[in-house]
Assembly symmetry: C2
Homo-oligomer: 338 residues x 2
DNA sequence: TGCTGGCACTCGAACGCACAGAGTGCCAGG
DNA sequence: CCTGGCACTCTGTGCGTTCGAGTGCCAGCA
């Protein structure tokens, strides 16, 4: 096991490297941190840390930099989550309070996260499957054409056109609307399928086709939208990476353009609590030199979606985690209010 | 005026520079292009072109590169629009035909343009103000809460919640819905305001407040949505720029994140025909080293929105223009069909 | 008048080299 | 187990040299 002091040395290395972006040597370490020991001792500790794989040297006779494994240890055992300052908190609240609809909430959240962390922000739209139904509406656009509108408790609205197999009367429509709503309002989307399963049977034979069509469209909507949408921002922050640019930044930009990749990324995160994936822990190759900090957020106690940031493995983990967590909380509040 | 041959020299310089990304000298020019004259003559021509401001040398004793003014001349007088090959055309058609809804059309268009031009693609959503109304729907969510849904002929759907000053009966609601639709269906959004202006007067005094509220929400929606939405993609292509990265790419990424900037950018483009803005012709400073090729597209004969690409001033103008034009045409077709 | 070949000149990129400085590993002594 | 000292190894930097592409200019030729 690593001694207390060696952990302290690792912490110091991580902190310095994150700050300076340069390999850190033993002398500089003892000068900047009150370790109470001489450079020579630190060197010995470093040799051990290197042997264990927590740090590495880019070249012989250069300082050390943390490895992914080193960051892992740092995050797990050495770093707390740095709470935001109260001005920052106020700023978040003010900024998010101005939002007018769900799109706006998401857009503002992305900007906020990107600014706060100075990294790339990713925010998933609230998931339908975990939301509850606020209202289902059916409109008749033409004799055999309906529009289905779905409103969630998170303020999301989805609509679909439905072409009916047969004309559908206004009374039947009102009937279907009423029965549908009485069954599903306030229920979770995930439960909807079984709740409406037997609905067609209670209608007149000539209407059953249409009712089935409407229901299958409804269910389709649920399934389709399980593939979540998301919004990203702050890609300009990628330019702060290093000076070894094109090679580093390119695959990241490519990965960020693939929504599928990002969704998988967020999907892999733990259901509750904050998740930090460091470097090669990310399945996607293009993101091997980045870390992803993500967390779930939701209107109630339960998470309905996730958000996070993508940045270099050399990032300020405590600060980033603090910002991510705080933003997630406030967004949750905002969603609960609306 | 510049002689025919000097124009030919300029064309050759542009073509070579676009291809090699390196300043081009007189000797290389005569070798690669059948100009029929010696390097010395070309040098004289170059001196003239430089004096006129069409080309410049990065340093004394280096080859020449085109200036913005040089590209301008090239685009205006020397370059045609290169039509796409038929496999390319088929690919476009196939790719766009798979789209299921408006979002999907826009998303696919962005990907397509980015791939085809290997640059950053920007696609504006069809504008509401130039669209026509397909249907307006009003739903009662609660006694004093309505939902307003707007459907356009381009398949776009907008919804807004309306809090009424007083409860609003079902019959009044049906009445308002009917009158509203009879007035605005099939009309252009731009004409809506005056068409509904006198509507409140024809209602009972106790309902007028609500009617006015609904109408003002409707008008607000129109105004708000005049600030169009747009989608961008292919930012990873920015990494192909040059090797002088961070400085070049950063402001561009920043500009691309500001939707307002992009909308203004597209807005400045000509109403009809293709627009090419080169380097400093772009008002936004961050885009001074890029060129923007944009064109309107629409479901009918008229343009309802614009799309385009952003790339380095050193771009393949004929090819890019060809791709942009072709994509715009096919998107127009798709929208018209749906 | 306009094109051409020749020539001297300029200047940036590439290379080699020496040097300073930071950092290391190791060892002997407290 | 820590420390100071020491020899060693690199990288980064500055400097001078060379190399070559490219230019401008000029005299000659059609």
């Amino acid at each position: 096991m690593l001694s207390e002091r060696r952990l302290e040395v690792l912490r110091a290395i991580v902190q310095d490297y994150v700050g300076t972006e340069e390999p850190v040597g033993s002398k500089a370490l003892t000068e900047r941190h009150a370790l109470g020991v001489s450079p020579a001792t630190v060197r010995n500790d470093m040799a051990v840390l290197e042997e264990e794989g927590f740090i590495a040297q880019p070249h012989t006779s250069a300082g050390r930099i943390p490895t992914d494994k080193g960051y892992r240890l740092f995050v797990d055992r050495l770093a707390g989550v740095k709470p935001l300052s109260s001005p920052e908190r106020r700023a978040i609240q003010n900024f998010l309070d101005g939002a007018v609809d769900l799109d706006d909430v998401v857009a503002r959240t992305v900007r906020l996260l990107a600014q706060l962390t100075r990294q790339v922000a990713v925010v998933q739209y609230p998931s339908l499957t975990r939301s509850t139904v606020r209202h289902v509406e059916l409109l008749s656009l033409a004799p055999a054409r309906l529009m289905l509108v779905l409103i969630t408790d998170t303020g999301r609205v989805e609509q679909r056109l439905v072409d009916c197999p047969a004309p559908f009367g206004e009374t039947s429509l009102a009937d279907l609307r009423a029965r549908l709503n009485s069954r599903v309002v306030g229920r979770r989307f995930a439960d909807v399928p079984q709740l409406v399963q037997d609905l067609p049977e209670s209608f007149e034979p000539e209407d059953r086709g249409t009712v089935s069509t409407v229901l299958s469209t409804l269910l389709e909507t649920l399934v389709e939208e399980t593939e979540e949408r998301l919004m990203i921002g702050g890609t300009a922050n990628l330019t702060r990476f290093g000076h070894d640019f094109p090679l580093t930044i390119r695959p990241v930009l490519e990965a960020l353009e693939e929504q599928v990749v990002l969704l998988k990324l967020l999907g892999e995160a733990k259901e509750s609590g904050m998740t930090v994936r460091i470097g090669h822990e990310n399945a996607h190759e293009g993101l091997n030199s980045t870390s992803v900090v993500s967390v779930g957020y939701g209107s109630g106690g339960e998470a309905v979606a996730k958000l996070g940031v993508v940045g270099p493995t050399r990032m300020d983990y405590p600060g980033t985690m603090g910002a991510v967590r705080a933003v997630a909380r406030y967004v949750g509040q905002i969603l609960a209010e609306s």
